[in-house]
């Protein structure tokens, strides 16, 4: 057994009711699509579907569940845009797998850890997204690291608040 900060036996695995499992990602997608109508910068700096993916993946602590959650949310996000379907899907699949794998090994219940993890996964998500977009789809979209870090911090702060709200829906297995 690998040495971790918290042993696997001490970590609690959570599950969610079906309405929460479907409703929260759907609500995140609706808000993500609606708010930029009034605040265009919202879409550039906040990725609510990503935050929801990270939350569910970390709470369930199951890599397969995490990657499937990420894939479904990402593909749905792809469907709402006009870019080829699968770019967000691939990026969020990787994030879902990574977040749940990390959740197996680390206890990510405190705000600081959550902020750092969200920042890290936001950067991973952006890196994967732009790699796929440029490498596979031949898109000309460019990525700015300073903007990425700033957006990561913004997502981290929003994520911490969101996770504490979503913690209420956790159910112990």
């Amino acid at each position: 057994m690998p040495i971790t900060y918290t042993s696997g036996e001490q970590l609690e695995v959570y599950r969610f009711s079906i309405p929460v499992t479907i409703g929260v990602p759907l609500l995140a997608l609706v808000v993500q699509a609606y708010v930029p109508k009034y605040f265009p910068g919202f879409a550039a700096y906040v990725d609510l579907p990503l935050l929801v993916t990270i939350f569910f993946a970390m709470a369930r602590r199951n890599p397969i569940a995490g990657l499937i959650t990420g894939a479904v949310i990402g593909l749905f996000q792809d469907l709402l845009g006009h870019n080829p379907i699968g770019i967000y899907g691939i990026a969020k699949t990787v994030v879902g797998y990574g977040a749940s794998s990390l959740g197996v090994k680390l206890d990510l219940e405190n705000a600081g850890a959550r902020l750092l993890v969200t920042l890290g996964f936001y950067l991973v998500h952006s890196a994967v997204y732009f790699t796929v977009a440029r490498g596979l789809v031949n898109s000309t979209q460019h990525w700015s690291l300073p903007q990425g870090i700033l957006a990561g911090i913004v997502n981290g702060v929003i994520g911490v608040l969101l996770y504490f709200m979503l913690d209420r829906f956790k159910q112990r297995t």
């Binding site: 997608l29 699509a33 990657l67 845009g81």
Partner: protein, 412 residues
Amino acid sequence: MESFLGRYRNLIILVLVLFLQVLGLAVQVKTGAGEKAETRLIRMWAASAITPFERAVVWVQTSTGNLWHNYFYLRGVRAENRQLKEQIEQMRLEQVRLTEDAAQARRLQTLLSFKEQFVSKTVAAQVIGTAGSDLSRMVYIDKGENSGIGPDMAVITSDGIVGKVLLAGPNESRVLLISDQTSGVGAILEKSRLQGVLRGSAGGEVMLERVMSDEQVQPGETVLTSGGDQIFPKGLPVGTVTRVSSGKDLFLDIKIKPAANLAKLEEVLVLTEKQERQAVAEGPGRVRAADILAQRLPSVPDKPAETPAATGTAASSSGPANATPKPNPPVAGSPAGAAKSASGNSALRPTSTGAAAPKTTSYSSEAPKPKPVNPAASEQKPPKPLIVEQKPVPVAPSADTPQPPQDNNSPQ
């Protein structure tokens, strides 16, 4: 083998899911599916899952706003009403002048056998959401095929163009904004008549491309649609030039500020029908009483003897017509000329230099005077030619597109 699968099960499933998605991407890229039929249905399903919630939010928001503004918050309504009435009066006067301009432009188009494209039917729609990503600049509207909306229809506001319909579902449509990287709109600079292609940048800015770097483009110049993309009718406002810099490959980098506020779109118009027809000059049924009066009263004498052969097409009128000693010749397509022809005496119009320059109030006091050599009135006089000089014009003028004076003839 079994232990291997068990040990690396998570990783194998991850690779499998990623592989399937990469495969799907490859198929889309190869077939160029994008927004085509292969992915159309599934995209519409996804939109159908999201848009009802957005509609509900928009409905609640609109209802609350209407209730507040229409029944409670009525402060300043009287003052605003008075101000609007004054504005209507001013616009009526402006309309009279513009009608003259338009009539003159139509007559010239008829003479030159130009075809004009005009908007014949629009559908008003409300913006209910966006794609939710700054890498996909598009909005959703609450009207679709059931309202007669289809792909590649132009979407505009009263301020300017917005984008085109990318995909139309039964009750909602996706509109690709002009600020998206994949969009392309044929555009023309109003004064210099330079044509280019309007594209969005990665940062969401709107750029005018394909203008050679040796051309002179000034910030502040207005950009209009050129009609070359076969989506937007010619002459719709696009925006204004905000920055000009030298770009790569001998082209200028021209940044455009869109006329329509793309960041806060509420209601839009979808051009569901546009027709192309031969320009038809207005018949005598549209002639005003003042014009008829001007025709009957003695006016500046014409010299029909000098232009006996110039009553036909514009091409045959280049020689003698220019020698016609009319004090106020109607200048083709020129607002100044139209204004002169409407007022009849340039001395009564000290500021007749452009479309916006003349004071409409002075115009109203001058219009009924019995002296004007009105274009409509002049058209009814058989021997009087309409002066048109055949100069090479970059694009076909339309009633919506103001022409620079230098493109048309001027009194010589």
